[in-house]
């Protein structure tokens, strides 16, 4: 399994640390216990396309938002959380290899 880091390119799975579902990006602002329960514990847990957070631990030390399929392990998108989690925008757009369009 390889993830294509927007900064480092395709890298071996062992360089990355899996944190969990993208729900972790939606940290509750207030103190509502139900919101915190949902944030920390409840998950859609889809059999199919999912979005989750990976950390490029031995690479660029960036948090990545990965869109992938939990049944086939195919990866369709990897984006920087720091760039708003949208590939093709923000920082990710500025690091295309030289000569690419």
């Amino acid at each position: 399994m390889r993830l294509t880091c927007p900064l480092c390119g395709p890298r071996d799975r062992r360089e990355f640390y899996y944190y969990g579902a993208a729900d972790y990006l939606n940290r509750p602002a207030g103190g509502d216990p139900a919101e915190w329960d949902a944030y920390l514990h409840l998950r859609d847990n889809p059999a199919g396309q999912t979005r989750d957070l990976w950390y490029h631990e031995t690479g660029c030390a960036q948090w990545l938002l990965v869109t992938r399929d939990t049944v086939t392990h195919s990866i369709s998108d990897v984006a920087l959380v720091a760039a708003g989690g949208a590939s093709g925008g923000g920082i990710a757009a500025k690091v295309k290899p030289e000569g690419s369009a």
């Binding site: 899996y18 329960d37 847990n45 889809p46 059999a47 392990h73």
Partner: protein, 416 residues
């Protein structure tokens, strides 16, 4: 048909022509008193104890594949009662007691072998933690003995005691721990439930849960609609999908766990050995294969197959612990889908939908729990009250903060 040694001999004398199928293959009825979704170990034992302990025999088990085709048919078969926390301790103690009488109860040889389990420790701090755990086990009424290094060596002379990273300081011996034949547990419960009138309906996938006015009324399946006032969801790694049919979002994330077996060897490992620092555990099956497993692949997955980095890690852990294992050839590996909960402990509880019950969150420790899970889930479904030994396995404990975090690793699903 009652199985016995005499029966085996008699059948042998007459060409084995008298054996009958171990359970019926019934057509689903339009309605049952209760339906269990999931024909794995936990679902089958729930059905069996509903019939045996509570007299409910007009019940069906709905299985989308065939009996024993999920995790009950492929796991590392370890049976133990060495838990520490109140809430877990009494539950697994109850389960082990049920295991000890299971073969006579089911009239089926599940090859339960109490060969002894040794958990290794590698530092003074770990020794203290295991001494404390052992005391908790003894206080629960189970058995535990703290072994020093020489005590472990007397049992397991082939380990590498002087390894520099994790030198072996000793181990916690749980003599009543051991293994059982996983398929036989599924078959034994299936046959025993069938003999009490339970309909085991295979190749029947649930596609919807019918709810009227907040109360369950039945299920939709690939073999038609079936009505029931009580429905239990006992589907392990698929819990989130089935619960979603009732509008529920669960504190579960499904992860992949790999296990491995070598070619058959002559007897070489007598015990179950757990090497926690490498997250490696091993025993030898009665066929001779070394059966061992490691940790999760760590990312959410339904693929039922893992990736190579964890294969490599498990092999390294095995070589670290017992270099002799390098001489064995790996025969095959497989991956199972684990229903990981945020505290590593299971859920056996009612849901917000009346008549709908949930049994899930077994992480990767569900096999040893099969008898007690069924026993307590049956109690819950029959009486609407949690069983005494499963009273802390509540669905809302994450919201209320009453976690059962046996390993103390926090609320991340993949860290248990």
């Amino acid at each position: 048909m009652q199985y016995s040694g005499f029966r085996v001999i008699a059948e042998g004398l007459f060409g084995n022509r008298g054996w009958k199928p171990a359970w019926r293959d019934p057509t689903p009825k339009p309605a049952y008193d209760a339906i269990i979704i999931g024909g794995g170990g936990h679902g089958l034992s729930t059905a069996y104890y509903l019939a045996k302990n509570h007299g409910l025999t007009n019940i069906a088990v709905l299985e989308k594949g065939w009996i024993g085709s999920g995790n009950i048919g492929r796991n590392t078969t370890i049976v133990r009662a060495n838990y520490f926390l109140p809430g877990n301790s009494e539950f697994y103690s109850h389960s082990l007691k049920l295991w000890e009488g299971l073969e006579a109860d089911l009239n089926y040889n599940v090859m339960h072998s109490q060969r002894g389990l040794i958990n290794l420790f590698h530092s003074d701090g770990q020794r203290d933690a295991f001494a404390r755990r052992g005391n908790a086990m003894v206080n629960q009424g189970d058995d535990a003995e703290l072994l020093d290094r020489e005590g472990v060596r007397a049992h397991l002379p082939y380990l590498d005691f002087e390894q520099t990273r994790f030198p072996i300081y000793g181990g916690l011996l749980h003599r009543r721990g051991g293994t059982a034949r996983h398929d036989a547990v599924a078959w034994g419960y299936a046959r025993a439930a069938d003999r009490r009138g339970v309909d085991l309906i295979q190749n029947c996938e649930v596609t919807g849960i019918d709810i009227e006015n907040g109360r369950v009324t039945g299920v939709q399946t690939t073999r038609g609609a079936i009505r029931a006032k009580k429905v239990g969801i006992v589907v392990a790694g698929r819990s989130s999908q089935v619960a979603a049919m009732a509008g529920l979002r669960l504190p579960i994330e499904s992860h992949i766990l790999q296990a491995f077996v070598t070619e058959g060897l002559k007897p070489v490992i007598d015990h179950v050995i757990s090497f926690g620092m490498g997250h490696f555990y091993i025993s030898q099956s009665d066929k001779g294969g070394l059966v061992f497993g490691g940790d999760l692949d760590f990312y959410a997955s339904y693929a039922a197959r893992g990736n190579l980095p964890m294969v490599e890690h498990v092999m390294e852990a095995g070589m670290t612990l017992m270099p002799m294992i390098g001489r064995a050839k790996l025969l095959r590996s497989w991956g199972g889908i684990m229903d990981m909960s945020p505290d590593g402990s299971p859920i056996i509880d009612k849901t917000p939908v009346d008549g709908l019950y949930l049994d899930c969150g077994w992480n990767y420790g569900g096999f040893k729990a099969v008898p007690a899970s069924g026993w307590t889930m049956a109690h819950l479904m029959a009486t609407d009250q949690p069983h005494e030994v499963a009273r802390r396995f509540r669905l809302n404990r994450f919201a209320t903060g009453h976690l059962l975090d046996e390993e103390g690793t926090g609320s991340q699903h993949n860290l248990h």
